[in-house]
């Protein structure tokens, strides 16, 4: 086959000296540098590129840019494959590989195409109506539907590419580098303002890239000369940043704009090696100028979805910009003048224009006149009533419109063609304006939505503002760019206006549905989702009157193109069917992103080790050296357990737990949250924050405290130490350190600004080493010979300062295990040295490092709750059986009043209890539901759940804590945990299993 059979002999912005080979559905083709995948396919005569979503109908290349609904391809292979890529915006590079989507087993023989034959059975809302009953079969239907649906395949492997984020600020952001955007950027840039101008295409110029200059002059120059000079001017402005291949995809509150820059997507993989693939810009602009142009509207007529039927503006792009003939015999079908430009350009490129079919009977613009002078046949007051051809359009049938304009009359004429270039007029691209919540205004004469009052500092210029002519675009652009710069604080004067000569354009007259004589003919409105006029009519008949509901019922305007070509047509058709005005039906909300963006770009560098910050204690490396297993607690890496010589987790934890009770255990507790609290009112402040009393706590003494939210629910707990009359050191649970600090600050700043108290996080300033067990005191004495550590002189819940292993330390006598325990706090940088000293001195005493799992077992044996495990934001101190810590007489504290609410004093609230299983070895699952009465199958009445559950080697049996309805009145009762493998019988006990009297604490 001849290479590039449909490439024109001259013209286009392609480099004919740089041929590129690519493959499509496994077949090899050639194109040129400067092509898109779509233009290269068309150059090879390939129109039929995919199948539609629902009916699997053959579909062809439809547009030439972001609006493309049909030509979606799977690009690349392996880890670098991308689904749903628009062939029209995919730059051609050497070795590009693309495949069709939505077809199985192959594009030309597709089994799903059977849906097309059954289309009468697949009306709007079909899935909703058919598959919802019986509900039990939905699981079965869903699998088949999900398999049949879907647009392309996501890569299975990890993305090998690199992405990055860039924050930026500018005075004026210009979106779109067509004539309006370029004029705006120049006017703004000339004032010295910091300007960013972004355009989704690889080249700046917008519609000028298609304007070949035969009929247009700008300032006396041809369009591309003007484009070159204004680009050079912008390039010379130091404060102007030009971003091609960059889509402004989202316009958010307060002029925050998301931009996606595609850096290497137009390059072969080997040339992109080591480069950032895409960059996501997070831009805050003082002023935004939208110059996003317009999108062409398809005509809704019978058989309008065959491959070879495309937008007239796109056909013109292929001829002028890419030097490609979209067919060998073309029918133009239009309701406005702009399609005559396509006819003229095709005729001038020696493409046979069979005829222009114009829905209007009176046609008088400059372009139709020139077409007549050029001898291009035209049928005015005619419409297309049918098309033929399966995988490519072969012909159209046309008839005369009747006088009323709502039907056809006279004989049928059949025309032969292999391409239909259609135009239903142009829609301003108001997406970004609307995303920023600007209100749209409908102009009934032209049938378009234009920007109304903006909510933010946003201006629109050119075609996106309804100003379609080139002279209007350039004038509005210059004016708007200057106005934006002035508001942003810069000064400048109006430049002399640019003189533009162009054909005079008559305004478009909307025709929303071209009549036909064919019964049952299908007219597609949304091509990607296969929504026809019949579906919309049916939705209206079934009572859907809001466009938002019609959209969801019929799926019109959904999918990857978000209805860029279909929304306004669908809206008008629904309005007509309802006999309502278009604004009364409403317009669907435009949402970000304008075009799809990759997860890679959204994620940026936040992958792998950079996914989330990791916090390590000063002793972390020791744990690593000892082969500890770690668990994540918030962002902290905590040693979980230390397996020795192939121990299982259970064996290691059992050993650690026993050592802490029989000898001496050592725990790295540096992650404990620490907040330094100072000020004359510090004690009063703690009095209000904790449930118990603090004013009388002696200096050098510690106290356990419980803090509630104001709704009475337990929030956090911990030991707080009084360092001086006006100075405390609060500890919090590891995971709550930041939220507790915020909590304290909030009360101080918003409720009690009269209290003089200052809070400072000191969590990372100290390493905390916790030792416990019968031999803990002996060991500490060896390392701190100057301290007085005997039980009488160093009472439980007190503090001593002194030297430990030669380092100034604060030693607290506290216990979270029920054993004699000491917490040694040293400056973080000495943490590892002091730990090493303990390990060395402890060797003779059989010192055993234990991790968080053993810590949990030890505290559970004692029935100590953990905030966030036993309590979950719905638990009061009374529920936990901790009324002893609530001081009712000291005055108000946070949460106090709530403890007397009707709901919190209920007798049947869930209360903390212990559970023991009949079988000693059975360890309940945490989270298991507890029932009083077992049925054969769910549902059963659930009266509580297991919050903590372990094997206790000290007791030689499993133990569990649970929150059970009226739990404290159920002591000794038998309850059940129904599990998939069988029901487990449990007995309710007090939530303390070991040393209930607490004698060991004073041992």
């Amino acid at each position: 086959m001849k290479r590039q059979r449909y490439r024109l002999h001259s013209g286009g912005r392609i480099d004919r000296g740089d041929e590129r080979s690519f493959s499509f559905n496994g077949r090899r083709y050639f194109g040129y540098a400067g092509d898109t995948l779509a233009s290269a396919l068309l150059a090879n005569g390939v129109h039929f590129v995919g199948r539609s979503f629902k009916y699997h109908r053959p579909r062809g290349i439809f547009g030439s840019g972001a609006e493309e609904p049909n030509a979606l391809v799977q690009l690349g292979a392996g880890a670098r494959t991308d689904p749903n890529m628009r062939a029209t915006t995919t730059a051609l590079f050497e070795g590009l590989r693309a495949k069709s989507q939505n077809c199985w087993p192959a594009l030309w023989f597709d089994i799903g195409g059977i849906n097309d034959r059954l289309s009468g059975l697949l009306p709007a809302g079909f899935y909703y109506k058919t598959f919802m009953r019986p509900a039990s079969l939905w699981k079965f239907y869903e699998k088949i539907i999900r398999n049949a649906a879907g647009l392309g395949r996501a890569p299975v492997d990890r993305d090998p590419d690199r992405y990055e984020h860039q924050y930026a600020h500018c005075d004026v952001l210009v979106v779109g580098a067509g004539p309006a955007g370029l004029a705006a950027a120049r006017a703004a840039g000339a004032t010295g303002a910091r300007v960013i101008i972004a355009d989704e295409q690889s080249e700046f110029g917008g519609t000028l890239l298609t304007e070949n200059g035969r009929r247009v002059r700008i300032g006396g120059e041809a369009p591309d000369e003007w484009l070159n000079s204004i680009s050079a001017e912008l390039n010379d402005m130091p404060e102007v940043n030009m971003l091609p291949r960059t889509t402004a995809y989202g316009n958010y509150a307060h002029n925050f704009v998301g931009l996606m820059e595609r850096i290497t997507d137009h390059l072969p993989t080997e040339d992109a090696e080591g480069e950032v693939r895409q960059r996501l810009w997070k831009l805050r602009a003082k002023e935004i100028v939208l110059a996003t142009g317009s999108l062409e509207r398809p005509l809704v007529f019978a058989g309008n979805d065959r491959p070879g039927v495309m937008l007239a503006g796109a056909a013109r792009d292929y001829v002028n910009r890419y030097g490609v003939s979209p067919g060998s015999r073309v029918v133009i079908f239009t309701n406005n003048d702009s399609a005559y430009a396509a006819a003229l350009d095709m005729a001038e490129a020696d493409i046979a224009v069979e005829s222009v079919i114009d829905l209007r009977s009176e046609v008088e613009g400059d372009l139709p006149r020139r077409a007549r002078e050029a001898g291009i046949p035209a049928l005015q007051g005619y419409t297309v009533v049918a098309t033929s051809g399966r995988h490519r359009v072969k012909g159209v049938s046309v008839m005369r419109m009747n006088d009323a304009g709502d039907g056809v009359t006279g004989p049928v004429r059949n025309l032969t063609c292999d391409c239909v270039a259609m135009s239903g007029g142009w829609n301003p691209a108001v997406h970004l304006f609307s995303q920023a919540r600007g209100k749209l205004v409908f102009e009934p004469d032209r049938g378009i939505f234009v920007p109304g009052e903006p909510v933010q500092a946003i201006r629109s210029a050119g075609a996106c503002n309804g100003a379609f002519s080139l002279s209007q675009c350039i004038a509005e652009g210059a004016e708007t760019g200057l106005a934006a710069a002035r508001v942003a604080g810069f000064e400048g004067e109006h430049a002399s206006p640019t003189n533009v000569s162009e054909p005079a354009d008559k305004p478009q007259t909307p025709v929303w549905r071209a009549p036909t004589d064919r019964k049952g003919a299908r007219m597609f409105v949304d091509f990607q989702n296969d929504v026809t006029t019949k579906d919309l009519d049916l939705a209206v008949r079934e009572g859907y009157h809001s466009i938002e509901h019609v959209k969801r019922y019929t799926t019109t305007g959904m999918g990857t193109d978000q209805g860029k070509t279909s929304n306004v047509n669908a809206l008008a058709i629904v309005a007509n069917a309802l006999g309502a005005e278009i604004p009364a039906v409403g317009v669907t909300t435009f949402r970000a992103p304008y075009t799809p963006i990759t997860f890679g770009a959204i994620t940026g560098r936040h992958v792998g080790a950079l996914f989330d910050p990791v916090r390590r204690t000063p002793i972390h490396e020791w744990h690593v050296e000892r082969g500890a297993k770690f668990e994540d607690v918030g962002q902290w890496k905590r040693a979980w357990y230390y397996p020795r010589n192939g121990e299982t987790m259970r064996q290691a934890v059992d050993r650690e737990v026993k050592a802490a009770r029989d000898g001496v255990g050592i725990l790295d507790y540096s992650t404990l949250g620490k907040i330094d609290i100072r000020g004359p009112d510090a004690a009063e402040f703690l009095n209000r924050i904790y449930t118990n009393a603090w004013t009388k706590l002696g200096v050098g003494r510690c106290r356990y405290g419980l803090m509630l939210r104001d709704d009475g629910m337990v929030m956090d707990d911990g030991v707080t130490l009084r360092l001086a009359v006006d100075h405390f050191l609060m500890t919090t649970t590891t995971g709550n350190a930041a939220s507790v600090l915020s909590w304290l600050e909030e009360w101080l700043q918003t409720e009690w600004p009269d209290l003089q108290v200052f809070c400072t996080s000191v969590t990372e300033q100290f390493a905390t080493i916790s030792i416990c067990g019968p031999k803990a005191r002996v060991l500490l004495t060896e390392l701190a010979p100057d301290m007085t550590l005997s039980g009488d002189e160093f009472a439980h819940m007190s503090m001593q300062e002194g030297m430990v292993a030669g380092v100034a330390a604060r030693v607290l006598r506290v216990s979270f295990t029920g054993e004699v325990g000491f917490e040694i706090n040293v400056p973080a940088r000495y943490g590892r040295a002091v730990w090493d000293a303990f390990m060395e001195a402890g060797e003779a005493h059989g010192i055993t490092p234990y991790g968080t799992e053993a810590m949990h077992v030890l505290r559970a044996e004692k029935g100590f709750f953990i905030a966030g495990q036993e309590s979950d934001g719905t638990v009061t101190p009374i529920d936990l059986g901790m009324e002893w810590i609530v001081n009712w007489t000291k005055g108000d504290f946070v949460g106090r009043r709530s403890l007397n609410r009707l709901d919190t004093v209920r007798e049947d609230r869930k209360q903390l209890v212990g559970l023991i299983t009949t079988d000693l070895e059975t360890v309940l699952e945490e989270g298991a539901q507890i029932v009083a009465h077992v049925s054969d199958a769910p549902p059963m009445e659930m009266i509580g759940h297991v919050t903590s559950s372990y094997y206790s080697p000290n007791l030689g049996r499993s133990i569990a804590l649970a929150m059970i309805r009226s739990g404290r009145s159920r002591m000794g009762e038998t309850l059940y945990a129904p599990m998939p493998a069988g029901t487990i019988e449990v007995t309710v006990t007090k939530p303390v299993f070991f040393d209930e009297e607490g004698g060991r604490l004073n041992g």
Partner: protein, 96 residues
Amino acid sequence: MLNIPCPWCGERDVNEFHCGGEAHIARPTGADTIDDAAWADYLFMRQNPKGRHYERWSHAHGCRRWFHIVRNTDSDQILAVYLMDEAPPDVPEPSS
């Protein structure tokens, strides 16, 4: 993505801030004497207006100071900013 003018630091991106919800909810004093309904009203009931909203924010990843904002919840426009100890300014209800 709001751009929030912290009265202490200037304009910063919203992700440096924490929103504390509706402002000027008075915490009842003498709580022992007020009934459950009044206490529940303080704890749980909040307005959810379309339009003018007086709200509390803290610059959590900045100066950590709390302050007030009057915001149009419809347009996200910030109508006023004032300090914790200042009386709420009289801001007219924006027309929508």
